[in-house]
Symmetry: C2
Subunit: 202 residues, 2 copies
């Protein structure tokens, strides 16, 4: 586990921080369910890393809210923002609790598996190898949604995360793609990322 | 607010309880976001009512897990179940926190509204009036998804909730429908429920 980073105040718009916290906490729930369903330590580790990110965002948001509030009216107006941020933080903690089931070897009870299996769409997590045709392409060019029915919901690049990437975002070799889609589509994306499948049909 | 019910032990399969907790906690997040977005006290009250249901389910689950565990191995196996249940409980608490923003008149800061507005699909909550053509029909007959592009995600009937209702579930007058869909479809469902629109086109 990494050492905890020192929290440095940075002036970041509260809106930006809150959107990121909400998006991350939702992504974490999906990742945590999939980690439990597939008993995947990689997905579980991703969840814990994102939890540290959300914690950090929550602290930054608190500082920015304090500085933004000049008087009693501001303080009351910003209360809602701070409550939503703490809700997102607690959702992310709950997702981390689910991830710990996998990482602490508690074992996935058939009941847990059954509860999370009822999701129709599958989640996949793949590393883009250097011989993959995905490397160096923008999402827009790949048109994965219309071609193979998968949606890349996050790209992990080292310690950076691109959540809900846009068409203009490029895939680089070494990236970890997290994608959602049909069982078949996800399988195909895995082959494309590993470089065992070399073309995308229209 | 209702008085808290006394919790009575009932033998209910742990699987059933956990599925219900997961479904409810997910529904609550959607409802809470919509309550904040539309500043709707009705949706916020629904969230709080469901939170009490989830609390109750969590207690029932704890008791059933205790009784199911006969030895150390059972106890370890069931630990994952109990952790997932407590995660669902905390997600539901976080949703309730968001609902309180609406009910305590904290006011919906533009930033909060903006964060929750980015959801493409809308949620609607409508009471089925006695002159509505929906009353007395099964969901299967109505084919709302293919006809107007909405999906009824919950039916509230007095204090009972039907979550993710199936085709065989019937809509009764007085029911509250909670549905998700396009802006237009949701508007049409509202008119059908109020009885101002009398037919469903194919």
């Amino acid at each position: 586990m990494d050492e905890l980073e020192e929290v440095q105040y940075k002036p970041i718009p509260v809106r930006t921080l809150l959107v990121e916290m909400k998006d991350l906490s939702e992504l974490m729930i999906d990742l945590a369910y999939s980690a439990a369903l597939f008993n995947s330590p990689e997905l579980a580790e991703d969840v814990l890393e994102l939890e540290r990110k959300v914690d950090n965002l929550a602290l930054l948001l608190k500082m920015n809210v304090m500085i933004a509030a000049r008087d009693a009216k501001d303080a009351k107006d910003l209360l809602g923002v701070s409550l939503v941020s703490s809700a997102a933080d607690r959702i992310s903690d709950a997702a981390a609790d689910i991830a710990y089931i996998v990482l602490r070897g508690i074992g996935i009870h058939p009941i847990v598996r059954e509860v999370f299996k009822r999701v129709e769409e599958r989640l996949g997590r793949f590393k883009v190898e250097s011989n993959s045709i995905l490397a160096g392409k923008k999402l827009r060019e790949l048109r994965l949604a219309s071609r193979i029915g998968v949606d890349v919901i996050a790209i992990r690049r080292g310690r950076e995360w691109i959540i809900n990437p846009k068409g203009g975002d490029e895939i680089l070799k070494g990236d970890i793609l997290i994608a959602r889609g049909s069982h078949l589509g996800i399988e195909e994306l895995g082959k494309l990322a590993r470089g065992t499948l070399k073309e995308l049909e229209d």
